[in-house]
Amino acid sequence: MKQIKRFFKLLLRSSTGTAGMVIVILICLCAVFAGQLAPHDPNAMDLTNMTKPPAWMEGGDWSHVLGTDNLGRDILSRMLYGSQISLVVGILATLTSGAVGMVLGLVSGYYGGVTDHVIMRVADAFYAIPGILLALVTLMVFKSSGIVTLVLVIAAISWVQYARLIRSEVLRLKGKEFVKASKTLGASSGYIIFHHILPNVWPSFIVVSTMSVAGSIITEASLSFLGVGIQAPLISWGGMLSDGRVLLATHWWVATFPGIMITVAILGITFLGNWLRDVLDPHNKGL
Amino acid sequence: MKQTLLKVENLEVKFKTLEGMQTAVQGVSFDVAQGEVFCLVGESGCGKSLTSLSIMGLVEKPGIVEADAIVLDGQDISHLKEEKLRELRGNKMSMIFQEPLTSLNPLFTVGNQMDEVFRLHQKANRAKAKQMSVEMLRFVGIPDPEDVYKRYPAALSGGMRQRVMIAMALSCRPKLLIADEPTTALDVTIQKQILKLMKDLRRELGTSIIFITHDLGVVAEMADRVAVMYAGQIVEQASVYDLFQKPLHPYTEGLINSTIRLGDGRRRLPTIAGTVPPISKMVSGCRFHPRCPYATPACRENAPPVIEIQGRMVRCIRYAKEHKQEGGVHV
């Protein structure tokens, strides 16, 4: 309880942190209550209402606040549903890559030697291929575009940053005297990892994870934009952008609103991450 | 009595923090005579380093320095503009620091960093600067100055680096040298060498030295006069002989008694109980009273006045009673 109070005290002290938190909470609410909030069925085509402009423009009306696309689908409703995909993919991909990277980083940093060399060289190899390229090729090759595949592919291109971060943290902590003290007590490797290394790695892990959710959302949007990510009838912000691209010159709102949505979401998550970094910094006495 | 070189009056260093204004150094006044070694002694966090940095004008934001006057060689430098101050730094006054490991820029050679001073303050050209730098390195007892001139700091031992720092600081024959714990990070045998070097250089150049340390042994070895700092204030000021013979302030007394000397094995060290209060939670009245064996209720309530006794100064209420009105009392 005291901790929660302290958490909010620290949060309110930072304007960007607060903004980030508010945005993230709002997006989560949008995703959870998309069904209740959306004024229309997001996939319902309405050929009488094609490319309707937003409500405040000439020809727009309040039944389609942000207008409709070339198939007459309500943009606001689609964006609300799109937040579901973005969040689900972003969070699942982060969890998967985080888990893989955490384990490999721990093993690599703690045990060192040949294991370390092998893991780090594999990491180097993955790092040498730009993530989006690797994801694109993999998705094409496996000829599947379900959420699970997408999550796995994004995880495959982002585990490296975790592994490297955790490894360097472990190397730093391994030399600390409290780890030595534990060793002189006869603690097993497992004990040291779980009682001394992990609790101290946790803060940076959380910060990187937050940033990684943002990265995964962008990657998902990019892949969907390229047409290899989320497929209809599922709705993704990237896919909406891709649809709107051809209408750009004549109906700017179709591509603009999902773009703003992505930007705001990423900004919110980044702000939150930056704030967490400041607060969780061990030099900063922390939570 | 020699001429006064530096006079610091009522120096205050404050920091603006989230918890409000915090005063790290308060009411510090002292003066340093020409050619004198003046020691500022105290434990970590007592404000001795901040005091010296404020003389140099090197206190960083968010620190705020206020002083009635800081007079160096007849010139009040407390309100000087940064550019004017810069002309004095490294020239009329210079400073060496505690960590010889980190005080030299790792990416430039010793020569490069030494030359800077000559080129800046003496407008020397490249060749002349090199010649002067090598000369200076030889002057501080570096065996192979041409070789050291070309090296990067990482290739030198701690003692060597501190010699380089001293050479750099003395390049322009400053009137005032501030040495902030210059031997703390060094091994004892190297410390001895550096202390001897500083004594020799002082004799040769007549430089006044403000020597900052936490080690009373070093004080006894180096100082002419000593100021003892505790929690941001000077609590006692005296000549080194008076101070060691009869410390007046209970803190000085405790500090001297708890210093280990050779041959102490058979006696039990007296200690000062407790720890220094943090500046954010400064105690009322005398700042030392929670740890003071002589503390009275009065110490808890009233900040003690600065008492002057026989050319010494002490901030303790005990002497106010003894010398009721005689000793000139400034607050």
């Binding site: 690797l134 993999t138 094409m140 090759v141 992505i262 930007t263 | 820029n105 800077e116």
Partner: protein, 305 residues
């Protein structure tokens, strides 16, 4: 220093092997290209003959070794799509990629360092806030959306620049601007935080205590010390700019490597894909090596990690 570099070079060998394995696996899983290479009316016999000719009937490991052998001889296979040697295709597109990446990287580095150093210097001022805002926005904006918006504004509305294509410098402006925005946004915060950290070091205090000018302290003593991490991130950006710029290249119809690979993927032309990916990976590795050399030049005391 020599030993340090030698160690880095030796480390590249296993990385290359693993890389080849990853790429080969992707191709292997992609399956049988025979159906695509032959006309639809070709019979089973013709397919089997082609498979044998291509060595596709051999077990996985044997194919892998043949593949490595071919790579070593510079044989990347033939693209069925263009009916041309894959390597020559890659080499044809390379200059376009390098041109776009080079211009964007140069702009990003300049913008990143200037704004980063300035923001660090005027820490917590409105200017700093503005720069931070710019960096945050640059990282949050999806590159492809920026590209579309730039086209909308400069090509469609203002009609100042061409929508897409290549050949003139005008064609380069919009894609380079897109990439610069995204890349410099990553460099700025890093330069800024490093600069702030370096400015708190003891040797900066020493430099100031010598009476050096603020500008000398910043540009001589501090700046050189911030270079190592800055070079690291620059080296990290290069592959993203060369192969990872495929979306930007696609949107602006810029005929670089990214677009070549994207088309290859779309048409299941795996020879082109693997040659392209391999080329990008090699550039990455070389970029990292160059940055290692740069560290050694900047920091003479560099040792093993």
């Amino acid at each position: 220093m020599g030993r340090y570099l030698l160690k880095r070079v030796v480390q590249i060998i296993p990385v290359l092997l693993i890389l080849t394995l990853i790429i080969f696996c992707l191709v292997y899983v992609a399956g049988d290209p025979v159906a695509l290479m032959l006309p639809p009316e070709a019979g089973e016999q013709a397919k089997a003959a082609l498979r044998e000719a291509l060595g596709l009937d051999k077990p996985f490991y044997e194919q892998f070794f043949i593949y490595i052998g071919n790579l070593l001889r510079g044989d990347f296979g033939t693209s069925y799509q263009y009916n041309q040697d894959a390597l020559s295709l890659v080499l044809e597109r390379m200059p376009y990629s390098l041109q776009l990446a080079g211009v964007s990287l140069a702009c990003s580095v300049v913008v990143g360092i200037v704004l980063g150093v300035a923001a660090a210097h005027f820490r917590n001022s409105p200017f700093d806030l503005l720069v931070n805002g710019f960096a945050a926005l640059g990282q949050a904006l999806p590159g492809f959306w920026v590209a579309i918006m730039l086209i909308l504004l400069f090509a469609v509305k203002l009609q100042l620049l061409p929508v897409s294509g290549s050949g003139t410098w005008q064609n380069l402006v919009l894609p380079a601007a897109t990439l610069t925005l995204v890349t410099s946004a990553k460099i700025i915060p890093l330069v800024r935080s490093n600069m702030i950290e370096v400015m708190q070091q003891d040797y900066i205090r020493t430099a100031r205590s010598k009476g050096l000018r603020g500008s000398t302290v910043v540009f001589k003593h501090a700046f050189k010390n911030t270079l190592v991490p800055v070079i690291t991130i620059i080296a990290m950006q290069l592959p993203t700019l060369i192969g990872g710029a495929l979306i930007t290249e696609t949107i602006f119809a810029w005929p670089g490597l990214g677009m070549l690979i994207y088309r290859g993927v779309a048409n299941l032309d795996m020879t082109v894909v693997q040659a392209g990916v391999m080329a990008v990976a090699l550039i990455t590795i070389v970029a990292n090596l160059i940055s290692d050399i740069a560290y050694c030049i900047i920091d003479p005391t560099i040792k093993y990690q």
